[in-house]
Amino acid sequence: MTMICNFKEVCMRRILLTVLVIMVASTLVWAGGGQQTQPAAPATPAAAAEPVTLRVWGGVPEENGPGDLIRAFEAANPNIKVEYTRFVNDDQGNLRLDTALVAGGQVDVYFTYRNDNLVRRASSGNALALDSIATADGMNLAQAFGDLTYATVNGGVYAIPTNKGPQFFMVNKDMFDAAGIPLPTSWTAADYRRIANQLSSGTGQDRIYGVMYPNWPQLFLLGAQSALGPNGFLKADGTSNFTDPLFREFIELRRTMQYDDRSEVPYVEVVSQNLSDATEFLTEQVAMIYTGTWRVRSVRDLETFPHDFKTAFVPLFTMKPGQTRTYNEGSLGDWAMIARDTKVADAAWKFIRYWATEGSDPMVAKGGKIPAWTEYPAAKVTEVMLGPDADKLFDIESFERVVLNAPLFSYQPTDPVAVTIYNDMRNVVKEEVELLYVGRQNLDQTIQAIDRRVNTLARSAR
């Protein structure tokens, strides 16, 4: 506010001086910029005693596990110091990590949460291949973590999974019991529709719905993709597969349940009112939600969501007769990767190996993660993840059966074209299905439009 004081000559001179100083300073900064170098990263330790700093970027808040894990790691490896930078795993957060990677010299270890980002980062030379490093360290990656298709780029493995993230239905067991419905262990789409109907009641604002989905557009295709598997939306020749009757059936199933049966919370309400599945489920407004392991924490949070019913777990329903496998929106994930330009690759490997295997306890306890490590004892996950009140809050048998012990088959794309267009494909599906829901086009038009637009996308990506 000095600006608006009385402008005496003296005051003026002072202002001009300030301007001058700012100008000179910024010119100096500019001129000096050329020679500016990044702070030199510590060289590879010649002797084990030389301390090493490891810069780790992850999406999990420090207090939800990484902090404890890092402290334990540092205690076991006194010559390695870990600096953890947390980024929010959204578009801007990933941009932040990417700019840091491209700028170079800022990141040693980083986590990737979306499979297409993994491919992008590995194929553009921002990650270190891990196969030979692991072999040299006496670790068989396939044995330790199972199927690493998603981490394999151009024949090399570029990441190790630190989380197994199946998705499933979380259901209100008390509502099932009250309606006399046994907990489904395997079920068809017809069973699903019937049960959702039975669990719905009430009218107007007090309507209780059978089921609710998050607003992710890929879930408009859930049933179809879970029957068709990865890349199911493209044919072998790389053109759109949306003429497959399964897509039609499932898109229609969700529409019918929202608008005719009124057993699913309408998508338009979820979007336009920012409805949270946790709130709706835990205040007993819906009987089933489609979700993943992260919701376990909400169920345990009785302070935020006071409730007294038991939560049980139900797998995806099947869409066609004889279907034995239901592919999942979830997959192995939370990929730990090493930056290509790291100067401390040995320490970095040591750290991600520790995080993914014997060090993962804090991530289970505080982060709600299930280690992808095949040797991690399942019983420990149940105990740590469900907490001391497990008996009261959860149906433990179904948790172990559906979440822990069922093999995880993901339908996320692996084909390069499918990976490239996955995001746009979801946007296409979102737009066309929304128009179906609001009555601007019928089912035939919807399928035709998606088919045509996905073909265009696939053509341009090839």
Binding site: R120, R121, G204, V268, R440, S460
Partner: protein, 297 residues
């Protein structure tokens, strides 16, 4: 060429000197990034491949754009949004400024209240909007009162989603227009009103012949900056409708953002930004030429 007078020479020197501090910063922090993005507009670049990965592709990006349905509808949507938001924000802002410049009690408090939507977080504004437009909210209740049995889900109805976003934009920006107009109204010389009164002018005459012409530079400023701002609308769309239903609220920056940050197509995103730039630039230039007719300096 006429020889320069001493006074002209002084003006030249003073002109450049006064501009200099800002001009240097302008080059360093604005012009250089802008030119870099122009280069990107003719390139293909996924960012992760680093500066070495920038491939010059000529006009490819612009050719793609011509047949990209997302680009075309987001452009059309944005023009609709810009027209209505700018017009209503300015009219309502002026109305508020006039109301508050005189003739009411508690001017200070009211001014502050009117400015609030410009400073609060858009999440809060959006949350209220969601509540007002929700299925059992006041707007739907009113529609039922009028005899409409099944009022639409406003934010998810192709006919109402855009008007809802526009209304939110006006709500957000009217206070800002008011602020600029308040500043402008302080500069209207009292003598002009007195002169108008002497000539027997009534309130209407004073408004159209004194006030409006005298604040026209502010109006010009607001039209230009509000058009620019309305081509940057992003957060309300992301929070309220995510561009839907269908493509009905997909606006340019929302699509540019998606292209750059989700699909990592920096070159294409820059190319769209530059098309948008040329468009706004043309609109501005037309107004620039036109201002002589109505802007009073």
């Amino acid at each position: 060429m006429k020889p320069l007078t001493q006074r002209q020479r002084n003006q030249w020197i003073a002109g450049y000197l006064f501009l200099l501090p800002n001009l240097l910063g302008f080059f360093a922090f604005v012009a250089v990034p802008v030119l870099f993005s122009l280069y990107l507009a003719f390139s293909r670049w996924n960012l992760l491949s680093g500066a070495a990965g920038i491939r010059f592709v000529g006009l490819d990006n612009f050719i793609t754009m011509a047949s990209d349905p997302w680009f075309i509808s987001s452009l059309v949507n944005n023009l609709v949004y810009a027209f209505f938001t700018v017009a209503f924000s300015i009219i309502i802002g002026l109305f508020m400024a006039l109301l508050l410049n005189n003739k009411v009690f508690w001017k200070g408090a009211l001014r502050t209240m009117y400015f609030v939507p410009y400073v609060v977080s858009l999440v809060a504004i959006s949350a209220i909007w969601m509540a007002i437009l929700s299925r059992f909210g006041p707007v739907s209740q009113f529609a039922r009162f009028l005899g409409i049995e099944n009022p639409p889900v406003w934010l998810m109805d192709p006919s109402f989603a855009m008007p809802a976003i526009i209304a939110l934009g006006v709500w957000n920006h009217a206070g800002y227009c008011m602020l600029i107009y308040l500043a402008a109204l302080q500069g209207v010389p009292k003598e002009l009103y007195e002169a108008a009164e002497v000539d027997g002018g009534n309130a209407r005459v004073k408004f159209f012949h004194v006030t409006l012409p005298m604040i026209s530079p502010a109006t010009f400023l607001l039209v230009i900056t509000q058009i620019i701002a309305s081509f940057r609308v992003f957060a309300p769309v992301q929070i309220l409708t995510q561009g839907g239903p269908g493509r009905s609220t997909t606006v340019l920056v929302y699509y540019i953002y998606r292209t750059a940050y989700q699909n990592y197509r920096m070159g294409y995103a820059s190319a769209m930004a530059w098309v948008m730039f040329v468009l706004i630039f043309l609109i501005t230039m037309i107004q620039w030429r036109g201002q002589k007719k109505w802007v009073n300096y």
